[in-house]
């Protein structure tokens, strides 16, 4: 698929106080019609990036281009970008229809056309018949829909959303995730979406940019991020990973042998590692076989079961492999019986491909 570039960040830097960078040299391309999520813990610079694109913040250095044009000197009201804010920012003194007509009014649209557009967008977000209500009379989910409708009613090609679902309860949030995705597909607009919820990012996005301390750690489609994390931060942030710290013993054909506290493991070598260098291994708990025929795996150990948690569709097992404590494995609940008990000695194994040797981190920053 040929990609049409819509928005470009070129080495964008942002500092509020002149000494600390909130955003370091950001390079990012947003494709036309794509749903791109900026994912990261709070304070990672993702919202600042969004606000610079919206025009509420100015980049300290670098340039942001929309359709090839630098927007450096363009005030927010001239950018024609729809923005959905964290707490909706609906105008409390206007009705729903008033809120939705506002962007059309300031553009000088005729009342008849305005009414027609408002009606159409209300249908799009499934809020027909709510025109005369005030925001305070709506539920959180309905307010959210109005906020989205308002950002879309003037038909922008680019819509920015800043944690729009943060204030909603879990069920409503999940419902709205699919709703926003549906609307985005229906209209074909480009959406840049900010969230700290990786689940949300996975559900909605075409691509996810994982932010950490003002930098993008990795930008990829959700399944690639999950399957092939390139950085320890991403491995920790997206889904769950066992992170083990070790030293590289040897390298061969893209694989490496790693010494983890006296235990040798085979891993796929992702970071550019050399022999003798420290590394961090990432192993997904669901890719660990417990009590399986061990010859299938390059990594095969004896372990002690410390704790078992029943979670419906799977069992979550905490194990000790020698000195390595709190190693987590997930056993799918296929038979209805876990087959392991606390205190059991079990065989444990995983394929070298499912064990990714990443750059070493002393302490992996925990999400949130």
């Amino acid at each position: 698929m040929p990609t049409d570039v819509h928005v470009v960040y070129e080495d964008v830097r942002k500092s509020y106080d002149g000494s600390t960078w909130v955003v370091h040299g950001l390079d990012l391309e947003v494709h036309r019609g794509e749903f791109l999520t900026l994912l990261g813990p709070s304070g990672s610079g993702k919202t600042t990036c969004l606000m610079m694109l919206a025009g509420f913040e100015a980049a300290t250095e670098g340039a942001i281009r929309i359709d090839g044009e630098s927007v450096q000197d363009l005030p927010p009201d001239k950018r024609g970008i729809g923005v959905v804010f964290q707490n909706y920012a609906l105008f409390p003194h206007m009705t729903v229809a008033g809120n939705l007509a506002f962007p059309l009014e300031v553009r000088g649209m005729a009342p008849a056309e305005r009414a027609e557009r408002v009606e159409r967008v209300l249908r799009l977000v499934r809020l027909e018949g709510m025109e005369a209500r005030r925001p305070a009379q709506l539920s959180g989910g309905q307010q959210q829909r109005v906020a989205i409708a308002r950002a879309l009613v003037f038909e922008p090609e680019l819509v920015l959303m800043d944690e729009p679902l943060g204030a909603l309860d879990r069920r409503l949030r999940e419902e709205m995730q699919y709703e926003i995705r549906r609307i985005q597909r229906e209209l074909g607009v480009t959406v840049v979406y900010v969230t700290h919820d990786q689940q949300e990012a996975m559900v909605m996005s075409d691509r996810v940019a994982v932010f950490n301390e003002g930098r993008i750690e990795q930008i990829d489609p959700p399944e690639v991020l999950y399957e092939e994390p390139e950085r320890a931060f991403v491995a920790r942030f997206i889904g769950e990973n066992n992170l083990l710290h070790g030293t590289v013993l040897g390298l061969r054909d893209g694989f490496c042998d790693v010494d983890v506290g006296g235990i040798a493991m085979r891993a796929a070598c992702i970071a550019p590692l050399k022999v003798g260098e420290p590394t961090t291994l990432a192993i997904r708990p669901e890719r660990v076989g417990v009590g399986d025929s061990p010859d299938r795996y390059a990594n095969d150990f004896e372990a002690t079961v410390d704790d078992i948690t029943f979670l419906g569709d799977h069992l979550r097992v905490n194990l000790s492999i020698g000195e390595i404590k709190d190693f987590v494995a997930k056993i799918p609940n296929v038979t209805g019986q876990g087959g392991v008990l606390e205190g059991d000695r079990v065989r444990l194994g995983w394929a070298a491909l499912n064990c990714r040797a990443l750059e070493a981190v002393a302490e992996v920053p925990s999400p949130q």
Binding site: D77, R79, V83, N87, A89, F91, F102, P103, V106, A151
Partner: protein, 405 residues
Amino acid sequence: MRPASDRAARRLRAGGLALPLVAFIFLSFLAPLGNLLTRSVHEPVVADALPETLRALEGEWSGGLPPDAAFDAIAHELPVARETRQIGPTATRVNRRESGMRSVIVKTARRVARLESRAQAGEPWRQLLPEIDEAWERPESWQAIRAAGERFTDRHYLNALDLDRDANGDVVRQPPERRIYVALFLRTLVVSLGVTVLCLLIGYPLAHLIANASAGTSRMLLLLVLVPFWTSLLVRTTAWIVLLQQQGTVNDLLVWIGLVPDDARLSMIYNMTGTFVAMTHVLLPFMVLPLYSVMRSIPNVHMDAAASLGANPTQAFVRVYWPQSLPGVAAGSLLVFILSIGYYITPALVGGQSGQLISNMIAHHMQTSLNWGLAAALGGVLLLAVLALYLIFDRLVGIDKLRLG
């Protein structure tokens, strides 16, 4: 679940705690207000001092003068009133109806005793009283006594509105040279509106600045607004005199710069300008504080939202910010307006002749002319005017939209 009687007892106890407040409001607010409003229509002094005379004055008079009984009664009652020290207030009240009657009554009360023997000898008081003062031969004098003898009167209210009753009892306007109060009410209204508008013009940007500044700056600015608020009103007003008088700081500065020639220094105080400047300064916090409180509750993101929707800064302000700040504008304006309509000390100190307001006239009648009835009536009219404005405000803006803090 507590038994009902227990809960009732608790409620009673809780109510009991509010008793001091209820008593305080009654004693310091409702009672004086009621007393004053009563005074504006109830004037029993003359009626109590001269009951027989007033009874004799009832009915038809033949030949313009009252019947003999009235002369007899007043000759009897005036010395009594003198002994009970009621003669002064009585004379004052009659005098308000007919100029010169004060001395006539006081003199008569003093001299009646000397003529007592001739009256005993059979000479009628109808001939004796005119010997003391020929005013007793004029029907106007007696009409004045009769008018002053009414216990309940609308006179003070008519007076407060520059109206009067003519000989037939019809309501007519006062002669032009005696019309002062309506003009004064209007001036008070204009000054109050002007001060309110000035406070709003100065206070709105200031409140916006305070509401949107960083925490430290905002605290400091708020302090700057509040410090004058905590300073004595007298000190602040006097400071304006120092600044604005002919040989004051501002004039000196203007002369020094050369903007104003030394022989034509501006008169900025002891006139309307002084009243405006000092009142606006004194009342500004009452505008800034409610505005600030409302503006602080308007999320900044609303302006961002308006901009993202394509509104330029002016449109965003007019359509999004201003309507949301209206409760503060309304509260501040109402507060400043109502305070300034009853303002007294500042105009008295810096207003000179042309800068006096209705409250200064009320104070004059309370303290100098001792016409408490008229003072009360002027206060009553003021109260009614404020209530009327309050109702109009409620109809236009809605009192429930007020946000005082």
